[in-house]
């Protein structure tokens, strides 16, 4: 029986101190949460303690994702993620999740451009079992032809759910493809439908053998454990797997200078209402100059996030030309990030008017910056979010795992509230001047109208010219 009151919960006290300016600041040195180790085979270990409840979140993050796929097999990273739940040399097809379920655990996995992650949430005494299972499928995946073909139909259905049934998702996919001219971020994580339809067992195995290895993985465990406990368990499981010399540092094509604004229009009667979209290429936390990404987060909070933002006040409250207007900066990738803005115009308001109003808000921020009071509120919002999120061990595991997998350090993660607190008005204005650059943008409109020409079947695109 666990008595919650006797367990220590070392929330980020620095962050709380920033919000309250009370005596918590005195205890700020206690704020380091995660501890680290590395196995001899190169697998990194990060442990984030939370002893309030007798449960753990166990995650393995691979430093490979959709942006690391070879040309022509888009979606293979995600497909492989699904196939990892099929048979290994010792686990029959479909048994993986059933074993976890019998352990009272929950499991799943996800794929992004820069990473692929697998997780189980279990009572702490079952951690050794799920670690053994996860270590097994790191190198012993078998993949039978029938499993592969059936699962390919599942991911085609997944694509229909996520994209084909949803015009806004189709536009988003097209805009991304226009935003990234050279970098593979322009290809959707789930893959293009015509390429998914041809993915094979051999494609999956090739990707697996190139990228799945302890020296390309990070183990993150949060919850009711210590680093020593996890390290011992990891030595007995992941530690037995030799490093794979085939793993090489990631290098992807980078963006050339962007010289011309791009515009897209999608007409789709399923759209419900018209909407206006814009993306700007921006640096990420990984690629930005020191302080620049933090300034971009503040900039977009003030400019576009929520009912106190510049865009909402201008378009929704004052001019009444939109029913919603919001945007955000996403800078959590290994390579470039982006700024996104979406506006739903009020009935009958022309797109041109909405666009002019957005551009006027952005121009004003470029020219005059934002106020110190706005910046302070934005900082408090972010730091509060950081603090409140620490209530969830699952969330913490994800925060650390994601950042580490794209190349940040534990110190980077834990100093984030501090760096946010240091953002200056000048930095925010500089970020606006650099980032709101129309040449580095894609503007998209989604109109609830019949298309001008019959839609091209996604499954049967123009035939490649094979001469």
């Amino acid at each position: 029986m666990i008595d919650r009151a006797y367990r220590v919960f070392s929330l980020s006290l620095i962050a709380i101190a920033m919000l309250t300016a009370t005596t918590f600041a005195r205890h700020a040195e206690a704020a380091t949460r995660a501890s680290e180790a590395t196995l001899p085979n190169g697998m990194r270990i990060v442990v984030i303690p939370d002893h309030r409840a007798p449960v753990v979140t166990h995650m393995v993050w691979y430093r490979t994702g959709a942006a690391d796929e070879p040309p022509g097999v888009s979606g293979i990273a995600h497909f492989l993620e699904h196939l990892m739940f099929k048979s290994t040399d010792t686990i029959p097809n479909g048994e993986f999740s059933k074993i976890v379920s019998r352990l009272g655990g929950q499991d799943n996995a996800f794929t992004a451009q820069d990473l692929t992650a697998y997780f189980q949430r279990v009572a702490k005494d079952r951690l050794p079992k799920v670690m053994a299972l996860e270590a097994d499928r790191m190198v012993h995946l078998r993949l039978e032809e029938k499993e592969v073909l059936t699962e390919r139909n599942v991911i085609l259905e997944e694509r229909r759910t996520r994209v084909e049934n949803n015009p806004a998702a189709i536009l988003d996919e097209q805009m991304n493809a226009a935003l990234f001219m050279s970098h593979p971020y322009g290809i959707p994580v789930i893959g293009w439908e015509h390429e998914i339809a041809r993915l094979s067992r051999e494609d999956a195995l090739a990707f697996y053998k190139t990228h799945y290895a302890p020296n390309n993985a990070i183990l993150v465990v949060s919850g009711d454990v210590t680093l020593d406990e996890v390290r011992k368990l990891a030595e007995a499981t992941y530690g037995k797997i030799p490093a794979n010399p085939a793993v090489v540092p990631r290098a992807r094509p980078q963006e050339p200078p962007h010289r011309a604004a791009r515009r897209l229009e999608l007409k789709d009667p399923r759209a419900g209402k018209a909407s206006w979209h814009r993306m700007y290429l921006a640096p990420s936390y990984k690629t930005a100059a020191p302080g620049e990404a933090e300034a971009l987060d503040i900039l977009m909070k003030v400019t576009a996030d929520g009912a106190t933002s510049r865009l909402y006040k201008a378009l929704v409250v004052e001019q009444r030309i939109a029913s919603s207007a919001r945007g955000y900066y996403s800078g959590s990738g290994r390579d470039d990030g982006k700024i996104s803005i979406v506006v739903v115009p009020a009935d009958g308001v022309p797109m041109a008017k909405v666009e002019a109003a957005v551009d006027a808000v952005l121009a004003d921020v470029r020219k005059n910056g934002v106020t110190a009071a706005e910046i302070e509120r934005a900082k408090k919002s972010y730091i509060a979010e950081y603090v409140y999120e620490a209530d969830s061990q699952a969330t913490l595991a994800r925060r650390y795992g994601w950042a580490l997998t794209v190349g940040q350090s534990v110190a980077d993660i834990e100093a984030w509230p501090d760096r946010i607190a240091k953002v200056t008005p000048e930095a925010v204005q500089a970020a606006a001047q650099k980032s709101f650059d129309i040449r580095r943008s894609v503007t998209g409109t989604l109109l609830p109208e019949a298309p001008d020409a019959p839609p091209q079947s996604a499954a049967n695109p123009a035939k490649p010219n094979r001469s």
Partner: protein, 525 residues
Amino acid sequence: MNDQSTSRGGATFRSLGLTVAGIAAALIGVALLRPSAPQARDAAKPALAAPPTGQTKGSSTAPKMAEAKPDAKTAPKTGTGPAAIPTTAEPRATVSARRAAPEQVKPSMKIQQVTSPGGIKAWLVEEHSVPLLAVRFSFDGGSSQDPAGKEGVANFLTAMMDEGAGDLDHTKYQERMEELAMRMSFTDDADVMYGSFETLTANRDAAVDMLRLAITKPRFDQEAVERIRKQLLSGLAFAAKNPDRVVQREWSALAFKGHSYGRPANGTPATVAAITRDDLVAFRQKNFARDTLHVGVVGDISAAELGVLLDRVFGDLPAKADITPVGDAAPDAKDKLKIIEMDVPQSVVRFGMNALPRKDKDFMAAYVLNQILGGGGFASRLMEEVREKRGLAYSVYSYIQPMRRASIFAGGVATKNEAVAQSIDVIKQELTRMAADGPSQTELDNAKSYLTGSFPLQLDTNAKIANRLLWMQLEDTGIDYIDTRNAQIDAVTLDDVKRVAKRLLKVDDLIITVVGKPKGLAPRG
């Protein structure tokens, strides 16, 4: 781009710099099998890949009562914080404890019943290791109390709760919330309106004052009413073209025709256009009262301090609510299949029928049965037959949802138009097979070991515990529920599950709605 991810059975999500969470809550442990729901409801950080409905303020994008999904519990609604939606379909205590699995990890916590000097009750778990406070509360009523012709009032009200109160107009109110780093949000289902409030200890007094203002002195300025109305109407326009939303709404309308559960909880364009400021005022006055108030609290506060807080926030409310009684209902329809044509490559199917009320002695057995059939993540029969063996769908699931005046067993599947008929056939076959033979002893044992073993996962955050404290009061489980719940599950026998399978799974009673262009499927009379 880099922060869009695609999951085996979860949600697309995005992150903001390093603050990747919220999102995580939408994926880990919650959204295993419901690909479309969490992304659209991550209102705090709208994904552009998600339908623009996700940006709409207020609750117009979240599934409502009769159409609620069991994972709604953690979905934020307004973007100002987590919402308390304790819809976990777990039963009340009906069986006495017998045995616990030997290895079972048993969660435990000290729950205090607090009564304020003014007589307001709350359940409290003190947690002083973090200077944070999480409060969840509710008033009975919800959208079943929407006046006829004014459907959507309750939902409208939830969207107005942070739009200004006391001397603070909407801008000042929301700026003050940010300055205090507080979180507050409201949501509703057909039976109940929920509130969620979180604050840091250091700002507690000022934040509590903001909550008090919102509940007792909301302004409902005309400008704000009109602005929110536009957002709600825009949300309805998106929802009307969203197959997931349409199939849910149509199912409720078909199965609960003539009952308030069958009405559109978010209203229609006509009813939302008709709602006036007076309607909002009247709804609040009738429904926000001390006699139907329930409160669950976790965090850095003593029982005495909580008593003072309760009186400050809720003490000025009327003693008694003025609730219009709602009659009992059971899903029923003459035409059991309805196809709503929409030009999409993938049809979305919803099926459902009558289930047991929570107080039925077989409810726990039914809960375990559903776990085996379609509630058990990747291990369920429906998942096995529809997805794993045949590759027909990404998502297929079922759940039991007891409400105040009805109970449903329901589920869904999404599949390409060509495979709809086959998918429905497979699902029906599985229900028929389960009704005839029940599960195997192994399936039962596996389901029980999942349900009991995973219970601690539902109690590993302050927010989840606060939700659970509220839920236990609303469902009248008894204050010892945390300690007895696993024993109740362990007590379910194979005979219990077989009996309830026969009683519950009457395949001919299934009511099915389909949105899309399904091939080879004819409505039958």
